[in-house]
């Protein structure tokens, strides 16, 4: 979704990304894979690149919650079995700088 479409999305009465993220994070599930299959999580992923600055900000704050969304949006695969969340977060912090999101 590009910026124009995003504002159309919000103007159509849809909630903004931050609120959508807050709603998605309000879960008592301990399983990030299960959470990433929820309808609200998928809505954030569907927003695409417009959501990236918000998701990368959570990584900067050391949260692992949106790592799967970052992979889905960018197409950059990460292996949750072999890579620790620290390694994955470090990757996204560097990616963030390299791609002008800082």
């Amino acid at each position: 979704m590009n910026i124009v479409k995003y504002y159309e999305f919000v103007n159509q009465g849809n909630i903004d990304i931050k609120s959508l993220m807050d709603i998605t994070e309000t879960t008592n599930s301990p399983d990030l894979e299960e959470i990433s299959k929820s309808a609200d999580y998928k809505k954030v992923v569907e927003l695409g690149e417009i959501a990236l600055p918000y998701l990368l900000e959570t990584v900067k704050n050391e949260s692992s919650f949106w790592l799967r969304a970052l992979s889905e949006i960018t197409g950059i695969k990460q292996n949750t079995s072999t890579q620790s969340s620290k390694e994955r977060k470090d990757f996204w912090k560097k990616w963030s700088k390299d791609n002008g999101f800082v």
Partner: protein, 143 residues
């Protein structure tokens, strides 16, 4: 804080009118209940997230038992009472699937749930719907 309390009570109706305590509340989702039960505060631990490579991921509740065994815990046969010089963890299951871990703190139990940590009795988190089913196993390790 009020919003967190309301959300907790909507998930766990058994908490309503009980003397549970919100021990801490922050805005980071940096670890989950299993991590908290193992004193890990910088990442989530689940079968598909930071799972030790030497422990099978596909054994359901047994995978979690093996995780705690590998951390020095032994089965304590559902004995949830406080024992001097022992740390205890309790693991919940819902419809046979792993769902939550708590750790003992004195005569009470503490759980990482969503953004916070609460102190509670084990049965207060049990139930259907969004609640955590029932206790599956309790394990202990010597301090």
């Amino acid at each position: 804080m009020d919003s967190y309390k309301n959300t907790l009570e909507s998930w766990f109706p058994n908490l309503i009118v009980k003397d549970y305590k919100i021990i801490s509340f922050n805005d980071k989702r940096d670890y989950n209940c299993v991590s908290y039960s193992l004193d890990i505060f910088d990442h989530w631990t689940w079968i598909n997230e930071n799972w030790p490579s030497n422990i099978p991921q596909n054994l359901g509740l047994m995978s979690f038992k093996l995780l705690y065994l590998s951390n020095g815990y032994i089965d304590c046969h559902e004995n949830s009472s406080f024992e001097e010089n022992y740390l205890k963890i309790a693991f919940y299951e819902k419809s046979g699937a792993p769902i939550h871990a708590s750790k003992q703190f004195g005569n009470m139990w503490r759980s990482r749930i969503n953004y916070g940590i609460i102190e509670h009795e084990l049965e207060w988190l049990e139930g259907t719907g969004e609640a955590y089913g029932k206790i599956s196993f309790i394990m202990k390790k010597i301090i």
